[in-house]
């Protein structure tokens, strides 16, 4: 029986954890089997959950979130027969598969879309908290914007510094309004539950928004430009499908293998022009071949396109 461990945000965060849950759910539906899951409440439970599941014979054990790296590093060796999958971080151990996503690439593409959809030439980014992962999103996004429109302005804001920053839609709304007043007419939210407020306000105020992680286009049909998809669901689905035979090692989910991308569906089809599609297709292809390299904030803790 495989197991899935959600990060502190909880499994229904409408983005990252929920995507992981969706993957597991899909696997369960397709195979008719069941899996174990737990939503963490505290830091100390990371190691605890890993050990408990491993001892109970769960295999493989998938954990969603970079914060597990440290705990997994401690635990993996104690359970050599159990396979672990960690998402968003690399842990070097023989029985661990590390799945990382090129969020900057996906963000780059939605950045291009944002720049093209923007009439004002000013686009916004709202992150949950000022942490490296969110900067990675923001940096890729800013590069994409600049690639599509070198004159465009990117306003990047962070919601806060306490855990409440991920669950404060009211603040998300106000940031959105502030960005609108500064001229932004497309905003990209990478802020968990706070993003709900961003998308809502964007819809209320008649500008476009961009969702994150899961496909959030349906939240406000016709008003969400697109969603930067981070196919955590696929990563989980694959891990569960591979089962105990799962291959360990390093796995990068990028544009080239469909690990990141953006969502187009009935809800936003009318917003994405052919020109946009063409441009992003082209960029995607070039990124895949390496012709364009999107700067990864994590590679050197800096961002040429945006200052923090």
């Amino acid at each position: 029986e495989p197991a899935l461990i959600f990060d502190l945000g909880g499994k229904f965060d409408k983005s990252f954890n929920e995507a992981a849950f969706a993957g597991a759910q899909r696997w369960a539906e397709e195979t008719g089997e069941s899996f174990r899951e737990i939503e963490l409440q505290s830091e100390a439970q990371r190691e605890q959950a890993l050990r408990r599941f491993a001892e109970a014979g769960a295999n493989p054990i998938v954990m969603a979130g970079f914060a597990f790296a440290d705990a997994l590093g401690q635990v993996a060796a104690d359970y050599p027969d159990t396979k672990f999958v960690i998402i968003d971080m690399v842990v070097d151990a023989p029985n661990v598969r590390s799945v990382v996503f090129n969020e900057h690439e996906g963000s780059y593409l939605v950045g291009m879309l944002a720049a093209k959809a923007s009439k004002s030439g000013t686009v916004g980014f709202i992150g949950g908290m000022d942490i490296p992962l969110i900067r990675k999103f923001a940096c890729g996004y800013a590069e994409g914007v600049k690639a599509a429109n070198p004159d465009a302005t990117v306003i990047a804001n962070m919601t806060g510094t306490t855990p409440a920053a991920w669950n404060d839609p009211v603040k998300g709304s106000e940031l959105t309004k502030a960005q609108i007043s500064q001229g932004a007419d497309v905003v990209y939210a990478a802020a968990g539950g706070t993003g709900v407020g961003v998308l809502q306000t964007a819809a209320d105020e008649g500008i476009l928004s961009i969702g994150v992680d899961s496909n959030q286009n349906h939240l406000h049909p016709g008003k969400v430009l697109t969603s930067m998809m981070k196919r955590v669901d696929n990563a989980v689905f694959e891990a569960f499908s591979d089962g105990t035979e799962l291959e360990t090692g390093f796995s990068v989910m990028g544009l080239s293998n469909g690990g990141v991308g953006f969502a187009v569906d009935d809800n936003n089809a009318s917003l994405i022009t052919e020109e946009m599609t063409a441009a992003t297709d082209d960029a995607a292809a070039k990124i895949a071949t390496g012709e364009i390299t999107v700067h990864d904030y994590m590679s050197d803790d800096s961002c040429p396109a945006l200052s923090f």
């Binding site: 306490t162 409440a164 669950n167 009211v170 106000e174 809502q200």
Partner: protein, 321 residues
């Protein structure tokens, strides 16, 4: 900062200050009657959930508002039971209510909607829409006054206007009516009220219930006017800020308005000007995040001085031990 930006910041101030103001006045009634309430946060949260849940299921925001108020009143009743009837510790009761609301909202939301502790998004009818004051559009182009009227004063939901009206109303109730006189007296010296032949218990329950009512409106405002649905923990500490504002205001209604507007303004400014560069030095975003709190401390230390709470506050009224 140009004029339009100023208007926008002030507009944002109004929105951010409204829930604080309602909660602050709520606390004012309760604490003026001698019942300390650190459960404002919980009551707001509970009301936010129930207003959104009922608005989502019925499609009627007014029913939502009522449900929000009712749920907040239930928690107030609990606080009253603990701190008035059973003369328990008011701080503990408040803490318990905060926990209770944080847990129950998600638990019930999950049970009802299976959306991970959220309510479905509210569509029109289920939300309080902005009200455009008469001639707002026509006057928008008048210099200076136009934007002030059409941007700043117009275009808020009815609950915002209600909240601001609640300030003179509170001042009038407290200082202009018999009820207010007794309420203030019971917070200062319940024995005086008791020996004057007025029920201490009755007065205190009334105060606590008004507190619940206002917290209910505050919560409903968050979930059905500012937002379009409930997200867990969406009050995000506003109840505590409201409490701080209350102390800041020294338990006075007009001062409460000032304090809440100040807190709202500080937050609005911090949100609007997140990336300030001074020469080559970029003020870190964390600094801007913390700015409202730092300034609060500075103002408190520099100008406000000592705040003396209602004398009988926090102490249960015990005649016989």
């Amino acid at each position: 900062m140009d004029f339009l930006t100023l208007i926008q910041v002030l507009d944002s101030t109004v929105r951010l200050a409204t829930p604080l103001l309602l909660a602050c006045l709520a606390g004012l009634f309760s604490e003026r009657a001698g019942i300390f309430d650190i459960g404002l946060e919980g009551k707001m949260l509970m009301a936010a959930f129930f207003s959104a849940a009922v608005a989502a299921t019925t499609g009627n925001v007014w029913l939502g508002l009522l449900a929000g108020i009712a749920s907040s009143l239930v928690l107030s009743g609990l606080h009253g039971l603990a701190s008035i009837t059973f003369r328990g510790n008011q701080l503990i009761s408040g803490v318990a209510i905060n926990f209770l609301a944080a847990g129950m909202t998600v638990l019930i939301a999950q049970d009802w909607f299976q959306q991970g502790g959220r309510t479905p998004s509210l569509f029109s009818g289920g939300r309080f829409e902005p009200i455009n004051l008469p001639f707002a559009d026509a006057l928008a182009n008048v210099p200076v006054l136009g934007p002030i009227y059409s941007e700043l004063l117009s275009g808020h939901s009815v609950l915002v206007y209600l909240a601001f009206l609640a300030v003179p109303a509170t001042a009038w109730v407290l200082f202009g009516t018999r009820f207010g006189l007794r309420l203030r007296a019971v917070g200062e010296n319940p024995a005086a009220v008791d020996t004057a032949g007025v029920s201490v218990v009755g007065l205190r329950y009334a105060a606590v219930m008004i507190c619940g009512l206002l917290c209910g409106i505050a919560g409903a405002y968050l979930a059905t006017a500012l937002q379009a649905g409930f997200v867990k923990d969406m009050t995000a500490g506003r109840g505590f800020i409201a409490l701080a504002a209350l102390i800041f205001a020294k338990w006075r209604p007009w001062h409460a308005l000032g304090a809440c507007l100040l807190f709202g303004l500080l937050q609005a400014v911090a949100l609007r000007f997140q990336n300030i560069e001074i020469g080559t030095f970029v003020i870190p975003v964390q600094m801007m995040d913390a700015l409202p709190y730092i300034l609060t401390v500075v103002i408190l230390a520099g100008f406000v001085g000592k705040a003396v709470p209602p004398k009988a506050g926090g102490e249960p009224y015990v005649k016989e031990r």
